[in-house]
């Protein structure tokens, strides 16, 4: 079976199963609309530690352990851990995963990390290099503010386009063999930079990357958007979500019926003062682990296109007048593996 579809998409000879996932979040997320779906809601944003960085690593460690347990595996069963976060040099992952003693590939894809990990992990499984992999992504509101913005103690006013970094970790265990839901196809995104310079408007920076990868996924598989019951981006928030739909309409793609964004699902924007919505590596990861995956498992939806999105700037690049590069990866997760070979329009294979 040819695994390369069209210009940018891959599919699997033996589509990996999403075996289990775990989510642990902070108190604010626990007060939001997804409250009942999370595995654990921490009573305290410190997670029992004395720094925001240690808090995030504790969160990473706890969530990974829980995911392995929910998958009814031992840590030793995990062939590779793939993980990313937002802290400098990905320290949330590095310290949180230190005790796991499993082969580790650290990722940096900003808030697209869970998508990057699931995409790579699915390819490693289908390639025959492991029986199980674990993809993980975390973020912590206070750590992200300290890393990217202002000390919290300043009480800086946030702009209406700003989003609120989710305190949370989502860990996903993929298996080479299983009964689904299956990762059936993946479109890895390239970096898209449309010139946005406002680091408080990451939705606008990321929407074009999401539009590009959704368009590529549908084109390469020769599908209409209606094929999917749900098309869910990572953390575009309201500004980015509106932009995404406008950009896709220009490509004659209408996703209004089945579209949502994890950044809009995770908080109540009316009551929780989060401005444009949720963001951070944890946003897509915990929403997938707690809410989207169970919807697939209970057949409330059968075909999900999951598109974690990331803004690839840092403090220095913004200070130096650079624009914000963005990326998004599209992961198709379906309860049934599509049977047929790709139709003729997708024959323009990646060379």
């Amino acid at each position: 079976m040819k695994k390369i579809m069209g210009k940018q998409t891959v599919r699997f000879a033996n589509p990996p199963t999403v075996l289990a996932a775990a989510s642990i979040v902070g108190p604010k997320e626990g007060e939001g609309p997804l409250s009942e779906y999370f595995d654990q809601i921490a009573p305290d944003i410190t997670f029992g530690t004395d720094s925001w960085e240690k808090a995030e690593s504790q969160l990473v460690s706890d969530t990974i352990q829980l995911a392995v347990q929910k998958a009814k595996l031992r840590m030793d069963d995990i062939g590779f851990i793939l993980a990313g976060d937002l802290l400098n040099q990905s320290s949330g992952s590095n310290y949180g995963i230190r005790a796991c003693e499993r082969p580790f590939f650290g990722l940096y894809g900003a808030c697209s990390a869970i998508g990057e990990g699931m995409a790579l992990g699915a390819m490693l499984l289908d390639g025959g290099f492991a029986q199980y992999v674990l993809a993980n992504a975390s973020s912590h509101y206070c750590g992200a503010e300290k890393t990217f913005r202002f000390p919290l103690e300043l009480g800086t006013q946030r702009t209406p386009t700003a989003s609120w970094t989710v305190t949370g970790d989502g860990a996903v265990v993929l298996a080479a063999q299983g009964n689904g839901p299956f990762v059936t196809a993946v479109t890895a995104g390239s970096i898209v930079d449309m010139g946005v310079t406002d680091a408080s408007n990451m939705g606008a920076a990321m929407a074009p990357a999401a539009a590009a990868v959704i368009t590529a996924h549908l084109r390469d598989r020769n599908l209409n958007a209606d094929y999917f019951d749900a098309i869910v981006t990572g953390d575009l928030g309201q500004v980015g979500a509106d932009l995404l739909m406008a950009l896709l309409r220009e490509e004659k793609i209408d996703i209004a019926k089945q579209y949502d964004d994890c950044g809009l699902l995770i908080y109540d924007r009316e009551k929780q003062d989060v401005h444009a919505g949720g963001s951070g590596c944890g946003c897509a990861a915990v929403t997938f682990a707690s809410y989207l995956l169970p919807q697939l498992q209970t057949k409330k939806i059968n075909r999900l296109l999951f598109i974690p999105t990331g803004a690839l700037h840092n403090v220095a690049s913004i200070q130096q007048g650079e624009t914000i590069p963005a990326i998004a990866h599209a992961i198709a997760i379906e309860n049934r593996v599509p049977a047929s070979d790709p139709p003729s329009s997708t024959k323009g294979a990646q060379s």
Copy 2:
């Protein structure tokens, strides 16, 4: 063919070929012992830009273009780019790769990045997900000092165990089909932390991770160290290299005859005032691209075990009293693919 060997190592049904590699370095590296091997030596550490961060991104961009050209490919031929660097949020890679418009997976493995990229890239190729992948790693002395240590303007005294971050980028193009040298097996490392807290002694922090992954590679493939003509670590420097050999002797593994370290190869420690040796993501990457790969291609060596090493701390973690987690990945690159199935001692397969 079973691809999982022993507990931690994978081999390939169709071992990928290292098709080409490119290296561009700064002036100091150009004055060192590998001077004649680099593709380009920049006359000026700014690479024509007005900041250290932009300099690194320019270096990334130039080296990737050159590697694709040396491989006689077009950028469009590259299925995936996998890249990492040391700057916060991997901005060297993100901005340097922005113009490539190819599917991108950002990595964070500190100075092990080129090993992480080659390991993942080889698995993506053997899995059938691309015809060509490009692995890239970069570092810049001034950017790394700014990110991890002191402003250069302070003229801070360096300790004898400190290493000198290489200004350089190495880009490696791997191909699914080719005539070798072949990536024949990969051992992905897990995080090892033996409690070192001195961020000016990364060699000591990383040596145990290198020892663990070399031991695992030999054990899983049931090989003696003598199997390899050359065993070369990434950037342990003199302190770490001595420690590595001592640690391996405890495991009854003697690598003295065929061992070297990119951090010792790249500078003349007597004349270049680099203290323990070279370090940085670029250290292993440019030494492999410029010096080690041509040795394989010209059959001066036929079996290389390449072990890029990374220290996974950041500024905040050291300030908060944390120890330094480290990682290393072992990549076997051989001119002939070993024919036989793994012998019986490696049957304890990863579950």
